[in-house]
């Protein structure tokens, strides 16, 4: 989840999520950055409206309690 946390960190700070900004954050957290994954994340996020996703996540009704434990 590191790449997602880092992306949301940037997003909630209203910074652009670019390969560089993402790498900076991950590196600062002491993570060995996987270039491929960074590129993939940035590319995938371009296709997603993050605010929309978060809004829906918040509006989500009492969700699916996992079927079994």
């Amino acid at each position: 989840m590191e790449y997602i946390y880092a992306s949301l960190l940037l997003h909630s700070a209203k910074k652009d999520i670019t390969e560089d900004s993402l790498k900076n954050v991950l590196t600062a957290a002491g993570i060995n950055v996987d270039e491929v994954r960074v590129k993939a994340v940035v590319a995938a996020l371009k296709e997603v409206n993050i605010d929309e996703v978060l809004k829906n996540a918040a509006a989500m009704p009492v969700a699916a309690a996992p079927a079994a434990q």
Binding site: M1, Y3, I4, Y5, S7, L8, A40, V41, A44, L45, E47, V48, I50, V53, L54, N56, A57, A58, M60
Partner: protein, 298 residues
């Protein structure tokens, strides 16, 4: 004018009236709160029950408006403000409590009575399922009119299902009244209706005196949820709040991962859940349109 007539006719005034004015004057001077309540339609025999409940912090007096007016004037009250409430039959409540406390307690000390023709119900009236103890007979058709399902059991009427016959504010059907009496259902409230409160120079009309405790409860709940939400958003550094912040962040992260199709060990499941949810929805949608025999994966 009144004073004049008093002086002139003093000899004809019975002692009890003079005493009463004096007592009222005293009460007005000694109490911060005076509430004028309507006694019309209030059964006099119920007053003592309310008095009993108020004993210790409020005194309820039934007096003639004219006597109260004189007493108020003597006590130095600005009579012009309350004059318009001094008509018909009134009770006067004297207390040093907050007027809203009196209002709340009047509400709590309300009594109930049987309905009479023309009454509006103060609460939901439900005829409960079960044996009514009433012998079967013409009463059956009354139940029928009220659409209450019944059957006869050992010669007695039994109601087969809880049945609502009036909501609060509805006029109670006349034919229901004897049945309600037999069943011991008292759907009409007996309470003193406040007209106005006079409190330390403030005049508070009846509408403002009504306190709806449920409204307060829901506002407190809302305020609290707002507070938590704001605390969570700014990561207010209290462990219990941060736990919620973390949960929220995690929920956001998982949903974002799911929407963008980001697969890692932690996110694979949410990604596939979302993909499957969409695939299933689509499969179901076209299954409805044309019977394709597609098995919705389950």
């Amino acid at each position: 004018m009144i004073e004049m007539s008093i002086t002139i006719q003093q000899k004809k005034i019975p002692q009890w009236k003079i005493d009463e004015v004096k007592e009222l004057e005293q009460l007005i001077k000694e109490n911060k709160t005076i509430i004028i309540a309507n006694l019309e339609k209030f059964p006099a025999d119920k007053l003592h029950e309310i008095r009993k409940k108020f004993r210790g912090y409020a005194e309820i007096r039934v007096s003639k408006n004219t006597l109260f007016k004189i007493a108020a004037k003597n006590a130095g009250l600005d009579i012009t403000k309350i004059e318009k409430y001094l008509n018909s039959s009134n009770a006067f409540i004297f207390s040093n409590e907050n007027p809203f406390t009196i209002s709340i307690n009047l509400n709590k000390s309300r009594l109930k009575r049987y309905a009479i023709a023309g009454d509006k119900s103060d609460e939901e009236i439900v005829i409960p399922a079960g044996d009514t103890g009433m012998p079967a007979g013409p009463i059956l058709s009354t139940f029928g009119k009220l659409k209450v399902p019944t059957r006869v059991q050992d010669g007695k009427v039994a109601v087969t299902k809880d049945t609502l016959i009036a909501k609060p504010g509805d006029t109670i059907p006349a034919e229901a009244i004897p049945i309600l009496q037999k069943l011991g259902i008292m759907p009409v409230y007996v309470k003193l209706t406040m007209k106005v409160a006079y409190h330390e120079g403030l005049l508070i009309p009846a509408e403002e005196l009504e306190v709806n405790l449920d409204d307060y409860r829901s506002e407190i709940g809302e305020a609290y949820r707002n507070t938590i939400a704001l605390g969570v958003e700014i990561a207010y550094p209290v462990p219990d709040v941060l736990k919620i912040s973390i949960t929220k962040a995690q929920n956001y992260s998982l949903n974002l991962a799911g929407e963008m199709g980001y697969i890692s060990k932690d996110t694979a499941e949410i990604v596939f859940i979302k993909a499957l949810a969409k695939a299933n929805a689509l499969a179901e949608a076209i299954n409805d349109k044309a019977n394709l025999g597609i098995q919705v994966a389950q």
